[in-house]
Symmetry: C2
DNA sequence: CTACACCTTCAACCTATATTTAAGGTCAAG
DNA sequence: CTTGACCTTAAATATAGGTTGAAGGTGTAG
């Protein structure tokens, strides 16, 4: 399988696969003419790797971090003392991030509810804006 | 209060306050000499606005979205039908994001546990890597 | 008056993460 | 053989979110 079909299958641009490969988080076999060639196993590996990479990226890991974690994990010699520390820091970040996301999610849900009510009754202001009163933003 | 002290109080760079003001999500009064001047109320407003802005940013809202939401919320004429739709989409995004973050958080925690065990017993591989087998990454 | 910290604007630059484009090679169908 | 889809690399551009630097004004202390 060539890169175009793999990209379509993954729902991403071929350029992104090339980019990730250049970054060092993916690899590929090549045909004699230089084209990237993905066998059956390679396709499955790529899909799995991409799923991990995109998911990690989506929750705030940089490609550098992902690369370090993946490579370190695959190395036969552990030597991971440093990495475990880095991952623990990331775990803390992630927990704080989840707490914050949840808080914002709840406020957003309240806001939507309040705005929806306001469509009917105009007096009802969003709770989270009432809490701190009108904030001076731009243009006042 | 001038921008430097406000920035120190907020723990951010003065340049960031200027940047956010230029972006349209903050405002300021000016002294006759052009310096930004924050009165007592303005300081509180700025702190509140910054808290909201940074938190929203940290969970994936762009400055454009934050600006639209804040300005729309403060407008006297609701006309928010569009915004409610946008916010609902964002709420969905946020819920998916929380689910994904939580999943990655749990896997990360397992990975740390496994790596910590491996420091003692080298056979014990991280569960999330066992699940999908070795992934072909770069350099193999 | 001199120093020095602080402020202004505006434009340039930076990092991360890609995408797009330019110039060219490969290949199967008609 | 030509056309068009697809591939290659390298370099330029895009986008978000800033930071930095130049050039210059302000304010206060010695």
């Amino acid at each position: 399988m060539k890169i175009g079909e793999l990209a379509r299958r993954l729902g991403i641009a071929p350029s992104k696969i090339r980019f990730l490969e250049a970054r060092g988080v993916l690899c590929s076999d090549r045909l004699p003419n230089g084209y990237r060639d993905y066998g059956e196993d390679a396709v499955e590996d790529a899909v799995t790797a991409l799923r991990i990479i995109l998911q990690a990226q989506s929750v705030g890991f940089t490609l550098d971090e992902i690369e370090r974690a993946l490579l370190e994990n695959q190395s036969k010699q552990p030597s991971c003392a440093d990495m475990i520390e880095r991952l623990k820091v990331k775990l803390g970040d992630l927990n704080r991030h989840i707490a914050q996301s949840t808080e914002v999610r709840d406020r957003l849900a309240q806001m939507i509810a309040a705005l929806t009510r306001r469509e009917v009754d105009n007096r009802d202001l969003p709770v989270d804006l009432q809490d701190h009163g009108p904030v001076r933003l731009a243009g006042e």
